[in-house]
Every structure is written in structure tokens, then in C-alpha cells.
Amino acid sequence: GAGVSQSPSNKVTEKGKDVELRCDPISGHTALYWYRQSLGQGLEFLIYFQGNSAPDKSGLPSDRFSAERTGGSVSTLTIQRTQQEDSAVYLCASSLDVRGAEQPQHFGDGTRLSIL
């Protein structure tokens, strides 16, 4: 079956531009996560969506970051006025239900974002 799909796989943009990153989770998975991974580092939690509940945005590093999830499926992470420190791999994961820490999370291959 289809896994988690992310697009684009690579994005190079100039400082100050806005970018949109897309995640298509596994069909039927109600929980969706966005993480950021800097070179050689672990994953930094950004935001969590669960069904129709209010998302947990506690990991977003600044108000330039926002995310939405339409119809409980596809999610978009938007970074406005990009800065060089935003350069990283942005990973999306989904899990079957709300207990995402008690079951496997399924990851996409990420979007590698480079800010010039």
C-alpha cells in the first residue's frame, strides 16, 4: 500500500521567500506529525494533528511557521519569510490513531529545504 508521501523532495529558495511543504499521510491514519531534522541531529517536534481536534502547535519555532490539515488528510506546512536557519529536512509522519507514542509512526522521505 502507499506510504506517506511528501513533496517537493527538495526545495531551494532565497531568504525572505515563503515556502509550502506538502504531506499526504497513509489513508486511514488519523494522527499526523511534522518534524524538523537538522544535519546529523535527531528529530525536533513541530506540530501534531489528530482528527478534528485542535492541533498541538507547541513545537513551532516562531510565528513564521504554520500548518494546516484539510479534511483530516493532506497537510501543508508553510514557512513565511524564510531565514537561513530554516534550512533542514522537514519530515512528516502519520500513525493509525491518537496514541502515536504507543505505536509505530510511518514517515515520508522528507523535504530537504535549503535557504540561500
Binding site: 528529530l43 502515536g100 509505530p104 509512526q105
Partner: protein, 111 residues
């Protein structure tokens, strides 16, 4: 904040040898997970071990958990070149949905 810390940061062994990676954490957990990440790819789930379990096996993988020492180990037996990857542990820190990740161990298997 980082909950899990893996060691070593990097490990290079010959094909066929066993590889052991360790993970330590700071606060009580309900479960701990191990993931593998090949270069340029997303993470792949390997094993989940619950706080009331001491050991789990999956093929050539063996995970142990010592809650008194707040540590876990991942053993890969009879390593293969395809095992070359970074390995991460993740803990729940009492949350039912949020995982806290270590910085990973980079494993290189030399043919």
C-alpha cells in the same frame, strides 16, 4: 529538549560482526521505540518495547530495556552492509502522542 541520548555517536564494524547501540533517557516512560534511517530517507520503525518488558526480538534485532537505569540497547546480530544507517531511539516521556528523539547512532558496516 532531548530525552533520549544514543551512544556511541558513530560505530564502524566489519560485516558479520554484532553491533550494539545504547540509549539513555531522563524521565519515566511508558514505552521506547527504535527507528532506522537510511541516508536521504525517512525513518523506519524497528521495535517498540513497553516499560513492563525487558527484552524483545525481531529477526536479527534484539532490544533490551532497563527502567531502573533508564537505558535501552539495540543489538543487531550478524550485521550486513544493508544495515548501514542511522539508528534513533524515541521515548514518550508520559505523553500518549509525542515522542522525544535522540540524536542517533550512525552505523557503518564495512564489507
Amino acid at each position: 529538549s532531548q530525552q533520549g541520548e544514543e551512544d556511541p555517536q558513530a560505530l564502524s564494524i566489519q560485516e558479520g560482526e554484532n553491533a550494539t547501540m545504547n540509549c539513555s533517557y531522563k524521565t519515566s516512560i511508558n514505552n521506547l521505540q527504535w527507528y532506522r534511517q537510511n541516508s536521504g530517507r525517512g525513518l523506519v520503525h524497528l521495535i517498540l518495547i513497553r516499560s513492563n518488558e525487558r527484552e524483545k526480538h525481531s529477526g536479527r534485532l534484539r532490544v533490551t530495556l532497563d527502567t531502573s537505569k533508564k537505558s535501552s540497547s539495540l543489538l543487531i546480530t550478524a550485521s550486513r552492509a544493508a544495515d548501514t544507517a542511522s539508528y534513533f531511539c524515541a521515548t514518550d516521556r508520559g505523553s500518549n502522542y509525542q515522542l522525544i528523539w535522540g540524536a542517533g547512532t550512525k552505523l557503518i558496516i564495512k564489507p
